[in-house]
Symmetry: C2
């Protein structure tokens, strides 16, 4: 079993993705929180050495650093043979890129602007919210014809990626009641054995 | 040889990525332009059928539709064994996700706001520009210690993805002179046999 070290932060949905995957896979690992309020070039040298883009999460596997949450998810799915869904692997990759370019971008930035800053222009917030709503529409549409997970009857890395920032609705300032299918899917994720919300897993 | 059909649009850097990869790989394909000024649900049924997220590009391989430009790039690199760089495959995936979540997001939206709209709030434009500048800083830093391509001495899908929106500086309203290493890298890409700019490849 490789020795795993995860660097993350409790407010980072990107970190949550990886922590949730490791938890559902039952992979033992050491979790090291990184204080993101410290400027990048003042963070601990051990973190700066492994974080190729200066961001969390980083997963160190037997000394090899892996960065970018979705790249880590793909690596874990490939090396464990689990959380891969039941479709062509290309479908997984499509969802992961949709997520990176769409829903996580819009929702994470909207949450950041609303919850962690008080000087973001209302126009920027409105722009991010309109994108977030379009992305939630698209995700909701997906579950009009599916009553399980994105890639089959069990949870996969695509679900883990797409849900990551959706467990902070009050911080994001979005009421999900309009997206019934998304809400039902999030409930199915909550029911997966081992699931816990971000602050539950990241301390 | 599979029969390849690419749906794209000349203004889409996402389409350009795939068209450029197919060109450098010397893969024969039929290119079908999609008019993005037509509302999504009025676009030709043959396109709506294959475009899972309603977006360009779509690459149809022997009847199988592939969407999300970076998922298509990964598919092409895997199936041809080319454009894969000379590093651990995880490095490729990391760059592709950095690109999806970072530079292409910021630069493509900045270009769209500045060149294709006239009513985007100046605050939104300023927000996008500050992100674009941070992303260009990061990319420039990468080439402080590299004098070739992102993943070695030859062009890979990581370079193709990251450069896709950078050939429209005047439309984006960014003067690249501050990012010397990025400019030198773009010149190396221009020198790759078969390279052509977006409008040169997409008509």
């Amino acid at each position: 079993m490789p020795r795993l070290v995860l660097y993350g932060n409790r407010e980072s949905g990107y970190s949550y993705k990886v922590k949730l995957a490791l938890t559902l896979l039952g992979l033992e690992h050491e979790y090291r929180p990184v204080d993101l309020t410290i400027a990048r070039n003042h963070r601990p040298p051990e973190f700066r050495e492994v974080s190729r883009y200066g961001e969390v999460p980083v997963l160190v596997t037997d000394g090899e650093a892996l960065v970018q949450s979705n790249a880590i998810l793909m690596h874990l799915a490939r090396t464990t043979g689990q959380l891969r869904g039941e479709c062509d692997p290309d479908r997984t990759v499509e969802w992961l890129f949709w997520e990176a370019n769409r829903i996580t971008f819009s929702i994470s930035n909207l949450r950041f602007a609303r919850y962690f800053t008080n000087d973001t222009s209302p126009d920027v917030i409105a722009w991010l919210e309109s994108r977030a709503r379009a992305d939630l529409d698209r995700l909701d549409e997906e579950f009009r014809t599916k009553d399980a997970f994105l890639l089959g009857s069990t949870i996969s890395v695509a679900d883990i990626a797409c849900c990551s920032y959706l467990f902070w609705p009050e911080q994001t300032g979005i009421d999900y009641s309009a997206w019934r299918n998304v809400r039902a899917w999030l409930d199915r994720i909550r029911a997966v054995p081992g699931w816990a919300p971000p602050y539950g897993l990241l301390g």
